[in-house]
Symmetry: C3
Subunit: 468 residues, 3 copies
């Protein structure tokens, strides 16, 4: 019994299915271009064996443990560490067994699709994961993880990755990236500049972060001009190690376009910690515009991920910290929010801003109309909760008619779950081919065009949009 | 000519259709679990014959007369009573004929599906209802309604209902429920605690309602603590007659989590009628949290139905009163609104809160992410205007990938239209089976899993979620 | 190689496709009723030859040049005139070649569907438009445009148009409409009353516009009563030349229902230019209600198009002016916004208000529930960015179950692109037939009903709703 059928994710109608399969056949083996993700550069630098199956596949994956928690399980029982060091389950096999028994809760979710694909293609398992098969699966995975051919660099090559971007704080010394470069290994791992910790006055330790930014950049972060210069220097340092993009996670898409005097005055209050909540929000807004201007200058592509309310449960945040599945999307405005940034650089062909959303209502109403006219804007793929077959389909249906395909940027896996990367790209390629096959079958597109587009969506657009 | 085809609501593609039919075949005859609805407990207590076809099927159904009104008809011509007693049509046959002539306006609506199903399966009619067939239909229905086998208890048994919940005000004496229990009849009719009239300061007669609440509960509703105690006592009285749930219709999903002192002070102002609009809204918000706490304590499952703007037309409200089709959905926030309640009980596995929405944009953006992590939350089914094939399909497509199936609660018929109950459950079972069949055909789910899920969605989840 | 397949836009499943094609076959050749559009009445009055292919098909079409601009092209290179007269490309063939080379950017968009259809059916071209075929296409189109059988009146007849409405400012002298009427030509070209320039205090030259309104109407626009009377007279003048409708483009759907005294006082401030932004918005809101009242009195059907933020880019507006693709949709409320207007005329069967939206989230949540109960309301078709196969499908899926088909009004082409009119109606007819075919195949509608509905959606509803 195969876990992943060759026709997986293709529509049932035989004509559409056959064409989708043909299209997919021409892109299935294309190299993976992964321009946005969260794998750890140390993996590639150190090339150590991965730990046990649970530590690799369960414990760090908030898609997994949030669902288990929603069904009444305790995070501690799945090895999720507590901030205060209160003990949690550490035995990989125990965690794996618990997960296997609850795996049916993931029916209908992309987690299920990714994991089944990974079990089959990476670990050669073809029995469904259940309580009954848990140990056999665990043993088989553990055995493979102990072999050299499952070290990070070997997996990178096995996965046919052409280039992968990590996400790195502005204060990161990039030593792993330097080590990779110096190692002579020919894998292409590039950093991405993520300055939230030195841009968001509400970030933990913001003032100290600016001090460290001064140290690491050699610029004086005590003044607005020096602070901007520090960013420029750090961006250049990232570029020197291969970065082609920046990434910005903000609560909203608000941007601002203050005069230099206004911005400098605002920076002083933020720097001193005397800014109120409105001023802190205004500072974040201003910084998006500054980053967009720098994008036009230095060519780093800018990514904006707005609209998540982080750490919704104060109690869970206090016990477990960030990124525990309690980041919840909110309604997000783009039309008014982006106007200041677009006034500054929207029609500048050197600038490139990729927009993401967790609020799908904005696709047809706001994002496709904006990206369909401003040369500086492109649409990021269906993201996070929408990185899924239905989410991707809705993305194409909502955006294509207004923005076309060429104002989109291909797929992002956006993941720290390294083994799932091929699965994620495979889902995206299949869903896009299914969409194209429907257009051809409905005579809205010619077959030759669909072949070109399948290649662009799987490979070409990501390289072009991210300047990789 | 059959009004309802065996393949009704199944997708056209033969493979999906065949599988959908197989799945449906295994759940079609499962008993009906109806955990939320508005049938009148007196029907089951008194077991009287239903009146004429129009009074049973047309006059009380606001889905029907709102559409007729939108097409230029007068409500009076369909027997809808006026508040001032101005005369309205009373002849059942006249009303029925008028309706039959306008029945084509319902093409494409669930009302049409429910009525055709009811005509065929309950009244053995297989000709389309039109002006030309109106009298034949009327006579056939009237004849059956006069027979003992169409009395409420007989229909309950014919419909294969296992349990049905009614909705009962906090001040209801539950005499009908007591009479049913004492009658020895083995039908299971359970009340649901709906306290809007004693929770919402804007409800007509709120102050007098609190006095009656004191009388009926024996608690002192002059103080905050006594008022809460009155709720606890009434909840216990409902539980004693089989209730497993409460139901709360609020304009928004706002919740609050005040200190005891703040809440007591707010109650005093509300009790005295001196609270302003903001305070009255805050009181409603606080009461959702109080009810959620009581849910954790006494185990009654809590249902929240926010987001309807009631009685949109002042003129129609003045002439005909409530529930005349002028309740219009509005945009509804959940992420911020529910945070106080979730801070109080969201991670408490004893609590259970079922959320409904009339704003479908919240499904993928807010509700599925919230229900996919908080153990106290579950998602109610597509409701009211979305209790329809497209509405249910969109519900599954928007929520499953993030919240899975097991954070949903099965189907609610939510109706006072007793004869339509089997039709409504049948639509839900068919649409869910069609959705599952698509997942299987696209190899996103195994067939054996789909069979388990079909049973859960049709039967198991409702029993479990509502603790029935 | 045909550009447009006979099965174009029909679903792939053979049963649904066959039925869709049957339904379409019965409506394909119905006359075009075009109750809302922007063709120039001078075309029909003067009946001059159209200019070169680029000037006809590319330069005036903001769907086209906004996409080209988004891909980094300059508007000047496509002949879009600058406000300051800075030179732009004027050579039609050069513009056409540039466009042909970029035409692949339109894959997946309705522009592509319309243009391919037009190339094939109007210009007998059956090769795809590319850089390689650009000249052949250009020559073929140019040759035909020089012939009498491609003059406006000949095209009107060739297109089988039964009636077409233009959109005309309140200050328009309607001389072209008078000339058409007096010419003896039997084409039916009717004006539509669009008073934005004399209703919106933020319109350029508002005060002077009111002076001209006084001149043209003979009413005193210095007082509120005189101003309303001026509208009544202009509406009557439009009706005398065949108008059956008015059209109102507002930033929001806000309406108001002031007392006569309040409205008169507000008018005075607006007239004097002393009204602040809130008062100017209130005046627009009040005027929607006044126009709805006049609709009840004189029978002109009222169309409201809210929710576009005009001229999003100040820089592009300064260089190129209005209507250059920078009008971006925004979130739009209807439930509260329309309540004052609906209080005034919502239940008056003489009134008729057709609502459009660019915010699709309002369809299922607000617009279908409102139109499904208020007799004065009908739903306009999927509009602008949603005038597309997916947009139309979503419109039907989101509105039909609550509002039915008979609270909708058929199709609007809403275009100034005269050659594309048959293409646009053809898309709508095909998409509606595909939707109906799905309902029949899923046994939600009988085939005979679908035939009736196909005719109504393609022809009957537009004539009825617009009183044509």
């Amino acid at each position: 019994m195969a876990l992943v059928d060759p026709n997986y994710l293709f529509p049932a109608e035989p004509g559409v299915r056959s064409l989708a399969r043909d299209l997919y056949g021409t892109v299935r083996d294309l190299p993976i271009v992964s321009p946005h993700g969260h794998t750890d550069p140390r993996w590639y630098a150190d090339n150590q064996l991965f730990p046990d199956p649970a530590q690799l596949l369960i414990v760090p994956d908030h898609y997994i443990f949030r669902m288990l928690f929603s069904q009444g399980h305790r995070l501690e029982d799945f090895g999720v560490p507590t901030l205060d060091g209160a003990p949690v389950e550490t035995d990989g096999r125990t965690i794996w067994r618990r997960f296997a028994k609850s795996y049916y809760h993931f029916r209908g979710t992309p987690t299920r699709l990714w994991l089944d694909y990974t079990l089959q293609t990476l670990f050669a398992l073809d029995e469904p994961l259940t309580g009954a098969t848990a140990d056999r699966h665990y043993d088989a995975i553990a055995e493979r993880l102990a072999s050299d051919s499952y070290r990070p660099r070997a997996l990178y090559e096995r996965f046919n990755i052409e280039v992968i971007a990590t996400t790195d704080g502005a204060l990161d010394d990039l030593s792993s990236h330097r080590a990779i470069r110096d190692s002579g290994w020919r894998g292409r791992i590039v950093p991405t500049y993520r300055p939230d910790a030195v841009v968001d006055p509400d970030f933990e330790g913001f003032a100290a972060n600016l001090d460290r930014l001064a140290d690491i950049s050699g610029a004086d972060t005590g003044t607005w001009d020096g602070y901007l210069d520090a960013h420029r220097r750090r961006r250049a340092a990232f570029q020197a190690l291969g970065a082609t993009a920046t990434d910005h996670g903000h609560p909203t898409a608000e941007t601002a376009n203050l005069t230099h005097t206004e911005a400098a005055r605002l920076f002083d209050r933020v720097r001193l910690g005397t800014a109120d909540a409105g001023e802190r929000a205004l500072f974040r807004a201003q910084m998006l515009t500054e980053m967009a201007r720098m994008s036009a200058d230095d060519g780093l592509v800018m990514q904006i991920h707005p609209g998540s309310m982080r750490n919704h449960s104060a109690a869970m945040f206090a016990r477990f910290g960030r990124d525990k599945g309690f980041d919840i999307p909110t309604r997000t405005d783009y039309v008014r929010a982006l106007q200041p940034l677009l006034d500054a650089v929207g029609t500048d062909p050197r600038a490139s801003v990729i927009l993401f959303t967790l609020d799908e209502t904005s696709y047809a109403r706001e994002l496709a109309p904006l990206a369909g006219v401003y040369p500086a804007l492109k649409l990021g793929p269906a993201w996070w909760f929408h990185d899924s077959p239905e989410g991707m389909r809705r993305f194409r249906e909502a955006t294509t008619e207004t923005a076309g395909f060429y104002n989109t940027v291909g797929f992002n896996d956006d993941t720290r779950a390294f083994p799932s990367i091929p699965a994620r790209h495979d889902v995206a390629r299949r869903v896009d081919c299914a969409f194209l096959a429907r257009l051809v079958t409905e005579h809205r597109l010619r077959e030759a065009e669909a072949h070109e587009l399948a290649h662009d969506l799987a490979y070409g657009l990501a390289k072009k949009a991210y300047r990789l």
